[in-house]
Amino acid sequence: MKNLAKVLLLAGLCVTARLAFGADPGPDSATCVVNVTVTQIIEWEGDAYADIDLADITAQDDPETGFSVYTLWINCNVSLTADNTIAAELDNTGDVPPGTDTLVTEYYVDYDGDGAGTTGGTDTTYATYDNFISGGSAITHVDNDGAVEITLYARASNDSDNVADAGDYTCTQTLTATWTSD
């Protein structure tokens, strides 16, 4: 009698175990939250490497202008600075043979957005190379607009009471996108 009870108990355990482990478990569900943090990014994209060609100056009062367009992809506010040293002033020191003269060199930037409704900044006006956006030009980022088109204009001219020496004039302007302060 005692043995029969043990056998029945064992059989019961086996059935329960089979029910427990052999049953269809049904669908399992799991949730997965994917998070990505995007840091502050600045990306220059240029019609590489578009320099500014200027036509020949053929008269004393004959300023020549040119421009080049660049795209700045940003997801934060940035400041644009320029080179205000003599490296950004047109001179003929690289000419063959080297000269010692300079041209009046002026720049301004134009943005395709104003920073209010679209990413951009306030357009500047012509300024000599040493004053061109010398305090930086603020570019304000607007949500869902990740790019601003920047047009750099340049103007070369003779001094008002002078005609520059004949020759080839060159210079290098450097635009730097930088962080802004709080």
Binding site: P25, P27, D28, S29, T31, C32, V33, N35, T39, Q40, I41, I42, E43, W44, E45, D47, A48, Y49, A50, D51, I52, D53, L54, G66, S68, Y70, T71, C76, N77, V78, S79, T81, L90, G94, T105, G115, A116, T122, I133, S134, G136, A138, T140, V142, D143, L152, D168, Y169, T170, C171, T172, Q173, T174, L175, T176, A177, T178, W179, S181, D182
Partner: protein, 436 residues
């Protein structure tokens, strides 16, 4: 072995140089840099590490390989807040010589990105804040025969804090002055219909202007905010002028110019003006400087006659509402633009009022700022939805409180308040079913 590696390096540099030279014109290339500023903490005599990511995003089939040049440079900040880069701006708190890295020149293929690792080795006697910039330049074309060669580059600021102890911020006002408005009789605006014809430049001259230069005399950088208070002779405050600078963070040894403007006319008389600065930190110290000014009868008369109150609705705030649909655990940012359309400087304070949104979900970065005339700024609100957030709709309000410069007497209202409702809809997380 060392000689071999030198030869390999030289050959590599030669290829990069050749690439710079032969890259054809009119091809699209670019370089993305991230982050654009970072703070590195290091103990004296120890090392710390940071990295910068550069990449050439493939934006289409026309994207070409991009030569990239990386340098660590000194930079100077002018009193106006302009940045200048280069070895000629070396200073006594330069971190340039502490920072080492490899891979200063490379060519990034379309779609390729790279992490550049930097090591900062602080000397044992270093103390306080030091700084440098990592300059990432796009390769430039061959030298022009004539015209202007344009180089494009991105500067990433690296601010190194060598912590030896708690630092007290120290500053002093090294210069302050007041410029009273100028009225040329030829530009007299007594006829109101002449207003449209008057250029903005003339209007800008017809304001009271306060200039102050603040110097950081301590060992650590601080974020400064300033105001000028105008008092009658009996020290009764009659006007407030918020002061603005394009860069509020002032590094040790640097000076920064702050400017404030007020359009509202002052009656004739003698006035005292106190320039007041404080910093954002808990160790803030107030820095002041007093001066006096006189408004003559003639000037007061002209000022009052020419004054046209166009500052009634100074601020523009966009968007009117922020709506976000987010999953639990999501971290994102939302921006809103604040623009000052007036001729007076404006101090702006933003704060969040929770209306269903739990504490810690929303945070404003730099909630206090000042806007110069005709200036705008985008403010950032970071949004962090907890992982255990229940699906539903949560609300909050961003209050934008603006105080423009002007007379505080005569019951004038120099403050404006705006509200930006924020609505966050937390979605139920997507369910992914795994069947056996």
């Amino acid at each position: 072995m060392k000689r071999n590696s030198t030869v390999v390096n030289r050959i590599g540099a030669g290829f990069v140089a050749l690439f710079f030279f032969i890259l054809p014109a009119n091809v699209l290339a670019g370089v993305a840099v991230s982050p654009i500023q970072q703070w590195v903490k290091v103990k004296p005599g120890r090392n710390a590490y940071f990295s910068i990511h550069v990449g050439n995003n493939k934006r289409g089939p026309e994207t070409r390989p991009c030569p990239v040049k990386v340098e660590v440079l000194d930079f100077a900040v002018s009193a106006q807040g302009g940045l200048s880069f280069g070895p000629e701006h070396k200073h006594r708190r330069s971190a340039v010589e502490w920072i080492s890295f490899s891979d200063s020149e490379m060519v990034l293929e379309p779609g390729e990105s790279k992490e550049i690792k930097f090591k900062v080795s602080a000397p044992v006697d270093a103390d306080g804040d030091y700084w440098a910039a990592v300059m990432v330049g796009l390769g430039s074309s061959k030298k022009l025969q004539n015209g202007i060669q344009v180089n494009l580059q991105t500067a990433s600021g690296v601010f190194v804090h060598v912590a030896r102890r708690n630092y007290i911020e120290r500053g002093s006002v090294i210069d302050a002055n007041v410029i009273l408005p100028e009225f040329d009789m030829a530009d007299n605006l007594t006829e109101k219909n002449a207003w449209e014809q008057v250029s903005k430049d003339i209007q800008k001259e017809q304001v009271l202007k306060v200039n102050a230069e603040l110097k950081n005399d301590g060992l650590v950088a601080f974020l400064a905010r300033g105001k000028a208070y105008l008092y009658s002779e009996g020290w009764h405050r009659i006007a407030t002028v918020p002061l603005h600078s394009s860069r509020r963070r002032i590094f040790p040894g640097h000076t920064r110019r702050f400017t404030g403007t007020m359009t509202q006319p002052l009656p004739a008389g003698r006035y005292k003006l106190r320039v007041f600065f404080a910093s954002d930190s808990k160790y803030e110290r107030k820095i002041t400087r007093d001066m006096e000014l006189l408004v003559s009868d003639d000037l007061a008369h002209q000022w009052a006659e020419n004054f046209i109150d166009d500052d009634t609705k100074t601020l523009e705030v966009k968007p009117q509402k922020i709506s976000l649909s987010l999953n639990p655990g999501r971290f994102t940012t939302a921006r809103f633009q604040v623009a000052n359309r007036g001729l007076s400087t404006v101090a702006t304070r933003c704060r969040i009022e929770a209306d269903g949104v739990k504490e810690g979900w929303l945070e404003l970065k730099s909630p206090d700022f000042t806007l110069a005339p005709n200036m705008q700024r985008s403010a950032i609100c970071s949004v962090r939805v907890p992982k255990d957030a229940q699906p539903g709709k949560y609300n909050a309000v961003i209050h934008v409180e603006m105080e423009r410069s002007g007379l505080t007497a005569q019951n004038r209202r120099n403050t404006e308040q705006y509200e930006i409702p924020v609505c966050i809809v937390v979605d139920a997380p997507d369910m992914y079913t795994v069947s056996k």
